[in-house]
């Protein structure tokens, strides 16, 4: 994993090919996004920025997506680790189940969550009897985000763990390190880059989550109205306002993701 080696010279056609491919991909992704930028005016952008409704939504989005990502990391890391390193009956079924939320159209995911955690739901009715309602609260926003984005993290984390050579764990063990410290001092640092990548995916997916949220948590300003919901709400009236909100979301996300990448590099890069 050392990096002191240089890559030699690639044949010209490879370098050009790769350059063209990357350029095309960047164009493919950036043109639509720029299209959004061109649609709005700077005044409108500033006006939106100072709109308390927008602020509410932005703060709510960032807070809920952060909490979701945190929960996903806390729950997903051990699950991914166990699935990567331990054999138990039904492991692959569990692993495939974890992927299912990816396939559900978000609205259906929200519907499913209602059926489970709503007040008439399989689990929710139980809570409701104790006076706790889950649906239509900020908690529901977080649950919806976790549901749709946890698979991304677990998939990525499991792949990173599986790719790690077991010899380091054995070395740590032979030096008297029980599983938990080994995990934190040896394994985590070695797969850091992969886990951060997974967390970024989950965070981004949670930030953009709309369908499951509005179905399960409803659209209530200040409580469950995240940025995507604010964008949809605005879209019903004024498309430009909706695009302005989208641009704000894009800029903020870009800054956050770039910052996280810059701050938390994998151990291989300095």
């Amino acid at each position: 994993m050392g990096r002191r080696y240089f890559q030699g010279k690639n044949p010209l056609f490879l370098t050009i090919g790769a350059g063209v491919l990357i350029t095309l991909l960047v164009i493919f992704i950036i043109t639509p996004i720029l299209g959004l930028f061109f649609r709005i005016s700077f005044e409108q952008f500033l006006a939106s920025l100072s709109d308390p409704v927008v602020w509410n939504a932005l703060v709510l989005s960032l807070v809920t997506a952060s909490i979701s990502t945190l929960v996903i990391i806390l729950v997903g890391t051990p699950v991914a680790w166990v699935n990567a390193r331990h054999h138990y009956p039904g492991r692959e079924i569990v692993d495939t189940l974890i992927d299912l939320p990816l396939v559900l159209p978000p609205t259906v995911a929200g519907l499913a969550l209602l059926l489970a955690f709503g007040r008439m739901g399989l689990i929710g009715s139980f809570f409701y009897d104790y006076g706790i309602s889950i649906a239509f609260t900020t908690l529901a926003v977080i649950i919806a985000q976790i549901f749709v984005s946890i698979p991304f993290y677990i998939r990525q984390a499991r792949a990173s763990f599986e790719q790690l050579d077991t010899m380091y764990e054995h070395a740590a063990k032979s030096l008297g390190s029980p599983s938990v410290p080994t995990f934190f001092t040896i394994i985590l640092p070695l797969v850091k880059a992969g886990l951060i990548g997974g967390a970024i995916m989950s965070f981004a997916r949670a930030l953009g989550e709309f369908g499951a949220t509005i179905m399960f948590a409803g659209n209530f300003q200040g409580r469950t109205q995240t940025m995507p919901l604010a964008i949809y709400t605005a879209m019903q009236g004024d498309l430009t306002a909706a695009i302005t909100l989208s641009v704000i979301l894009i800029i903020i996300s870009f800054l956050i993701i770039a910052f996280v990448k810059f701050k938390l590099r994998g151990y291989g890069e300095r």
Binding site: G118, M120, F136, M215, F220, L229, M235
Partner: protein
């Protein structure tokens, strides 16, 4: 409606508001039987989305909107065949509760009861706008009293961006009541709700306009379809799906 374009048939592309899904699917079928040369292609989405698509150059022959706002906006941009525009359906609003009626709502007055979980549309979707108009009218009426409007709105737990959102939440029993179009109570789901009608003096009549899109290449066929829609058979189907007629 078959899928692929069949040779020799004229393809008539109809953009229709999502709330027309059932009625238009039915109608396309009967229309194709009586007009063998025509194949009706349907595109259902929210009226706002359809409008955006037409603005961005989507090809459509006919646009059926769930409200006048979006269709008139297109007209004002010169994207519609002005002479073809006309109303073809009306829709009233109603309060629905789940069949099990967990909130025990039997009259409109019950909506003020604290703790009632009410869902309506956001103020920018027509159904939400109309709901607010209705509540305001009722508040101005002495039968319900001036605080009616505010205390009902205080019970709102979610402002949906689509009517389907309202319907689904009520159907699942997650909301105690919702304000929707009468046409949302479709033949398939009728027995899943209790319906509380809103008296005409408070109700708002939603208007469904239709028109031929300016860039249509099949204006004659489009006109024919509009005539059918507004004619005897069209009206019958619309009525079956709970629409009021102009």
């Amino acid at each position: 409606t078959g899928n692929q374009a069949e040779p020799g048939k004229t393809e008539l592309t109809v953009f229709a508001a999502a709330s027309l899904t059932g009625a238009l699917t039915d109608m396309a079928e009967t229309y194709e039987t009586s007009h063998p040369g025509i194949h009706v292609v349907l595109n259902f989405d929210g009226s706002q989305a359809l409008r955006t698509q037409i603005e961005q150059g989507a090809y459509a022959d006919v646009f059926l909107s769930a409200n006048t706002k979006h269709l008139y906006a297109l007209r004002d941009q010169g994207l519609m065949e002005n002479s073809s525009i006309g109303l073809f359906a009306k829709n009233k609003l109603a309060v629905i509760t789940p069949a099990s009626n967990p909130g025990n709502i039997t009259t409109l007055a019950d909506l003020t009861r604290p703790g009632t979980r009410l869902v309506i549309g956001t103020k920018d979707v027509p159904v939400g706008d109309y709901a607010r108009q209705i509540l305001k009218k009722m508040g101005n009426d002495s039968t319900y009293g001036p605080s009616y409007n505010a205390s009902v709105l205080a019970n709102v737990i979610s402002e949906e961006t689509t009517v389907t959102g309202v319907v689904t939440k009520v159907q699942l029993g997650e909301a105690d009541a919702g304000i929707v179009y009468e046409s949302d109570i479709t033949p398939e789901n009728r027995d899943r709700f209790l319906v509380i009608s809103i008296p005409d003096q408070y109700n708002v009549i939603a208007e469904y306009p239709a028109g031929i899109v300016g860039s249509s290449a099949h204006k004659d066929e489009a006109a024919g379809f509009l005539a059918y829609l507004k004619g005897e058979q069209g009206r019958a189907i619309l009525a079956k799906y709970g629409f009021a007629l102009p």
